[in-house]
Point group: C2
Chain length 430, copies 2
């Protein structure tokens, strides 16, 4: 039996307490799998008195997480504070400077500073592990970094935010509007008091930036992730999607195109018979497409104390067993700086919902706008007729470039007969 | 750049050629991920003249695979011959004796000799990697061994044989009988000329024995996998399953029960809304249940040159990066010898299809047999009525022990009014 792997945990919120509980509950099996004990030697949190449901006797307490990272007699510092900057960043930097491995669940930090942290850790011969940062308990970082290492990856996409998927699933099942379902999700603890990081797609964008780097061997480039959330998705769109054979999902999708690295997070219509369409509620799912393996799908809980702790501890087992991998699958100095593919160059099919006054000539005006931009209409649905109120008209297009589509929509929105802003949702070929 | 990792490949069939092609096609990305080249230095196959679609110039040819494993100047021997004994086993043993790592896709070999081979490899400080042996390109071995290492695993199950899943899917979609669909699958190359290893559940049982060992830290115990294939599944059963809200799948399932390690491969009825029910065609899927992560699902191609080569090369990347793990997640000498749970002690719900003469009293006789064995009926369906021909009667039971159910069925089969052998399919709670 080798010496214990000594752990210092910064942050004892839900996830930190979950990690401490897992280490206690699964001590025996962990020791067998690690070949040595995982020993919690130091923790840092603001409130020493709160009952976290797990005994912390005999463990050194630090008020200052950065001081702990610098001074505690630990082999690994586990950063569970969160946030893209501030103490979380300082803790990781201090740990690396002190020659300690880092395990973190912090997607925001790595999305913003992953390149620098990876270089620092690798230069010092240390591991920087972050399985918990992407899709919670699903071991997708390991799958991309090691399990699919034989493949050239052409695409990675998935449902990366459980809050959004829960809201979209509930909207579809109940027909209720976004605001209503969000409020319920907040009551149930599926959404935060300030939901913007989730519902505006930022959290999914953080995760996607990490997946891209892992999949394509390129530098993390969060700044160029096109990001759009789900606030504007309406029950009407969900109904039309059903009618057209689709489900609406907030997807993160990355691939290499002729224009460069395309990274997008936005609501999509996906065919109802695809694996991703069937992923409901708070579940996360990721699909990775390899040139030899084809599509592989990974599904599980994307958040919560248990799944996140599971991923954090898997990272610790790797450290205990001395299993190393470059942070983003290839050594940080060799990561390619890929040009970002401009969203205007994106090509795909589109769903367009217009709100029009049902007057003679309105469809002709709309059709003319599309014709002039060479946007080819695949189908048109007009469900209601009214001489006094606006009615919804839905169009789907054949493959077209985003810029042309946007120009056509802008022109349509200037028509007098179009009374609300036109809604567009991209139809995703998977 | 470190020295190349030198590879000797035994067996150049579909998979072996696929590995050679992957090494050539993805050379650049592999070198970046490995930190050094993967270099094919020796191969062994019977036919030197066959065009395998990949250049093999300058690579040493051996007629004798065992001799190659012993003598070729290789760091790793890749065993792709197949079969539970004979040359495949001799190649692995010779490689380990000569101090070479082993990568294999051979589930039959490991199901029969995994314990001994793991002990030998680990004693010599060598890796024995076999990602390709279970669920093809899906990195499930790595997920269980490393990605979910933080968890106590309570259950692992899945669709482990693409041939059977293809046949069952096609039977459901077309209403055609087993023999008919099997013949078609053979023509399409989805089933072998001798299909028994697949359709009798043996291949799935091999894989399940490896999953059990990985999940529960126990010795591989293929001899105690209860195994039943899909030959007896009829279109009528598939129809009734649909009517009752189920799909019929050949599942492998392992868990720890109060009676010991339960390992079963047999056709199951699974609720139509479960993830596993939606896995169609030749796709494989595995679900692992951890005490912290909950259920995680892994899905992808279970066979074929590309997916299998992907898994083989992932194992090679691990060797190249010097990432080691005990063969079955804990060191071989520490693997527990768990008592096998007898199938008679299995508890669950059952689907029973009887073929009866529709005479007064027949249902009463059947009900009495169940009552006497304390089998509680959940539902009964009698779809047809006929005074001259046998009609099907379908029953589902509440939770009952297998032994009692079997006794009741045996008694029912002795009734004069029961004209064909009664069919039983276990209903699986997932």
């Amino acid at each position: 039996m080798s010496a214990p792997l000594r752990l210092a945990v910064a942050g004892l919120g839900t996830v930190g307490a979950g990690v401490a509980r897992l280490l206690a509950d699964n001590r025996e099996v962990l020791t067998r799998r690690c070949g040595r004990p995982l020993e919690l030697v130091a923790v840092s949190a603001h409130d020493r008195t709160r009952d976290r449901g797990v005994p912390l006797d005999g463990i050194a307490w630090y008020d200052d997480a950065v001081g702990m990272a610098r001074e505690a007699p630990a082999d690994v510092v586990v950063e569970l504070i969160g946030g893209p900057n501030g103490p979380a960043k300082a803790v990781c930097e201090a740990a690396i400077a002190a020659g300690r491995h880092v395990v973190t669940a912090n997607k925001a930090l790595l999305a913003h500073h992953g390149n620098d942290l990876a270089e620092a850790a690798e230069a010092a011969g240390l591991s920087l592990n972050y399985e918990a940062a992407v899709a919670g308990g699903i071991p997708i970082v390991k799958a991309l970094r090691e399990g699919l290492a034989g493949n050239g990856i052409s695409r990675v996409y998935g449902i990366l935010n459980g809050t959004c998927n829960y809201i979209l699933t509930t909207m579809r099942e109940t027909g209720r509007p976004f605001a209503d379902v969000l409020a319920e999700a907040q009551e149930l603890g599926y959404a935060e008091a300030d939901p913007s990081t989730d519902v505006d797609g930022v959290d999914a964008a953080h995760k996607l930036a990490l997946l891209s780097s892992l999949a394509f061997g390129c530098r993390v480039d969060f700044a160029h992730v096109y990001t759009q959330g789900i606030r504007h998705v309406s029950p009407l769109d969900i109904e039309f999607a059903e009618e057209l054979g689709y489900r609406i999902k907030l997807l993160g999708s990355a691939r290499i195109t002729e224009h460069g690295l395309e990274q997008r997070v936005h609501p999509c219509m996906v065919r109802r018979d695809t694996a991703i369409a069937k992923v409901e509620g708070v579940t996360n799912a990721v699909v990775a497409r390899g040139n030899f393996v084809g599509d592989t799908v990974y599904e599980g809980s994307g958040a919560g104390a248990g799944p996140t702790a599971s991923a954090v501890v898997a990272d610790l087992v790797d450290v205990a067993r001395d299993r190393r991998a470059p942070t983003f699958a290839v050594p940080a100095p060799e990561l390619a700086a890929l040009p970002p593919a401009p969203m205007e160059r994106h090509q795909g099919d589109y769903y367009i919902r217009l709100s029009v006054l049902d007057q003679p000539g309105v469809i002709a005006d709309i059709a003319a706008a599309f014709r002039d931009e060479r946007v080819s209409i695949e189908a048109m649905l007009q469900r209601a007729r009214s001489e006094t109120e606006a009615v919804p008209v839905v169009l789907t297009t054949h493959r077209v470039e985003e810029a042309a589509l946007q120009r056509a929509v802008a022109r349509i929105d200037r028509l007098d007969t179009v009374v609300e802003e036109t809604r567009m949702i991209r139809i995703e070929a998977l």
